[in-house]
Amino acid sequence: MTRKDWRIFLLTALLIAAFPWMVQPVKAVSHYVDVMVFAGIFALVCLGVTMLMGYAGQVSMAQAAFFGIGAYTSAILTGRFALDPWLAMPAGASLAALVAWVVGIPALRLKGHYLAMATLGFGVIVHIILNEEVEWTGGPSGMADLPGLHVLGWKLSTELAWYYFVWGTVFLALLFCFHVLHSRVGRALRAIHEEESAAEAMGVPTARYKVQVFVLSAVLAAVAGSLYTHFVTCLNPSSFNLMWSIRFILMVMVGGMQSLWGALLGTVLMTFVGNEWLHVFAEFEILVYGAILLVVALFLPKGLVSLFTRKPIVHNA
């Protein structure tokens, strides 16, 4: 991480830490803490999307499916088999990693957007399984009364506790991703995005890295899914369909694809937009999403973070 990143890191951490104390006293917005827990969970998914799409240039349409794999693995193992959530979570992450690996290897050996196509189909399959395997997943009506989470013996019983736990996790994941980016692996991922043949000729095993970063994004999504399960304690398949995969991509695009800060900013903003401010539009919500996407693509192709950074001077790119 550069010194500037560290400064933003500390500032953001302070802001996040102080946020509940600012909104809780005000009745009208006191539930924003709750919204922010969701934003934090989604942010984990979106960090993975940024690594995969923003840096390595690979598009996945199945992040909601990996989110669902994590969520349902946790739900089934803890709800039906009374397994400890802390054992169910790595199980979900491992399953997601394995699935990403199997889907990724054939799709990522090829250049081009084969991953987008493969994951599009895969995401639909996962959604169908969640709907149809009634015996395991509860089908369309889902599962309820799932256990909460204990952290080091403390039960996360309030939204405030969840808030700090989730955002603590987000910052750990953020650090991990930053360190990966500022390493030979991160440079290789960016190189793959820009000139795949040249990267390969310079000794970068492009196929392997693409699969690895895809697995990383799947694991982050699965861990987020597990947290989601224990936070809301009930699930149904509609949170894990294609629309949600698109939403995660939209969050990252709004914030700025080639910045981890963009992922956080976009996620928080779009979570508030989706959970809080769009209800007035009811069924027309999807249109508003389309409009947001269009505006961002046309006027802010590098996302909202580009408003905060000075442009590097590139004469003849």
Binding site: F176, S183, R184, V185, G186, E194, S197, A201, T206
Partner: protein, 261 residues
Amino acid sequence: MDERSKRPHAALLQLRNVQMQFGGVTALKGISYDVPSGIVQAVIGPNGAGKTTLFHCISGLLTPTAGEILFRGLPIGGLPPHRIAGLGISRTFQHVALFKSMTVLENVMIGRHPRTFSGFWSAGLRFPRMRREERRILEEAGHYLEFVGLSGERDLPAGALPLGKQKILEIARALATQPTLLLLDEPAGGLNMRETEELGELILRICETGITVTLVEHDMNLVMEISHRILVIHYGEHLATGTPEEIKDHPAVIEAYLGGG
């Protein structure tokens, strides 16, 4: 003449009847040739002769449809490019293929990839070994930039450099992989006279460090000036081989270049 015409000893790269077909089009009709170690080897030929295709075959971007390529006696045909880079063959591209939005320094740092090891875990968790390696990569990349004379531009985005310097940067990036054999695909393309002269000096300096340089080039002055040996291909076939002096007066070469059916 001078020592440029020295006769080399061991063959570093051996081409054995290398063929490349694209559908019905045969780009290489069976090239057999040995590139000796330690020299500047030029590959010339009219447009469409198959020179770049040959480079793609050697560097692994294409797999020859028939024939064999041996590098230090090992068959490398069909290996993925990153493995071939690891074995010690690096290259530049006819149309500059830099990582344009990355800095000049970062481009060269990528070149260190096949000689370094840290993966996702050691990078993400910032193991001490990885941090030491990262410092070394930074330092070594700096040396390569110094060698080619681009230290002053290290923090600029590669895409912001003028074409001449982009071409030099590609060479620095390729050198950073520590190749035994360096393939330069039209390094002088788009360069002015002074830049071409400097490029020639740079290529000779690279050769002096013990790296075998093979270049495809259309600038005949440059080719005649710096090459120890020249391979001429025409319509995917081996047409002639020799020292610059031999090639200059070779009747078949003159025929191929000046036309005549």
